[in-house]
Amino acid sequence: MKLSRWLPQVVLCSTWLALGPIASAHHSTAMFEWGKEKSLTGTIERYEWTQPHTFLWVVVPRGQGRTQEWGLEGMSPSWLGRRGWSRHSLAAGDKVMIVYYPLKDGRPGGFYVRVTTPDGHTLAALPQRSQ
């Protein structure tokens, strides 16, 4: 009985580990601090449902009325589209909380891991460590 409880988590975890290196299909993930989760809250400016990667442009408030634009790469429609996402999952104007892996070079960009939409729903954008 206990086995049946933890086995799915082990399987999912193994899957996540196996997928880690190939998560970014056509290039190395070396530019990101892969696995280091950070989060931001902002407003979707553009949501690009494109190959070889989806791309999220987010306007993030910086205080005193100033904002900063962030660019976040994600998995492709080939991956997301078969796991519940579509080109309608996000839209310009949505206020979202995004968990991402940051760029190593400090520019306002990274790879998005999951997105929480205004209705409180969280969309996973990578295989999860455990569910």
Binding site: S14, A25, H26, A30, R82, L103
Partner: protein, 271 residues
Amino acid sequence: MTRTRMRAAPVAVGAMVLVVGCGSQGTPSATQSTAPPLAPIAENPYASLARLPDWSGVWEPTFSPRPRARQGGPAPPKLTAAYAAQYAKFQQKNRTTPGINFVSDVASCVPPGVPQSMQEPYPIEFLFTPGRVTILIETYSLVRRIYTDGRPAPADPDPTYQGTSVGHWEGDTLVVETSAILPETSPLNGINGHSDKFHVTERMRLVKPDLLEVTTTRVDPAVFVEPYTTSSYYRRHRDWQIMEYVCQQNNHDALDAQGKPAFSLKHNPGE
């Protein structure tokens, strides 16, 4: 054996047609008597496809579905000195910094060649037509044409990314022989380049109703001391469709001047 069977079938069908034709000649009309004799009708070549296994649907690459693969995967390749050093460097990097791969042209949307093109993360699809198997590869929208009509491999084809393939069926196993693969492509993850002698043999078969195994043997005396074989697995999704994949559509990761993926923060990175 399969080929013998395939040749016998049209003869039998032709004979049947002739018998039927004789039986209907009881009341010949003027036009029928001047018509040329009926030629035997060859079997519709598409009928031969009924003898092939069902590989319909879309096949997603999967990982370690078999116990042996889970226990550490295949043995490492035995490489010539020229290639051992770069492979060791890749392995070392992979251990110390997971996720670091060789920087590769594929980041700039140059597609991988055979056999790496079969091991991309997105699915593949098989089309059977008479005398030919076509593999559609979603990642980079690649096409492999495998002629199974018995023709020999051409003597000196131009090298291409997907090479030149001929194949044959051994029972329900498709055996594919590929050569003339561009020497700048990768023969194995962690190795860049190979000689013009690079030859790939793939054996493709169902090991479960919805699990396809592709066993890939790489031969190139410039790279491998002995033939190197690995196995890949694909899980069937009958309700999936292959999606369009145009790598240049929105690629933020083309290589920069230092040869590393740039991660462009331009809205239109291709411009």
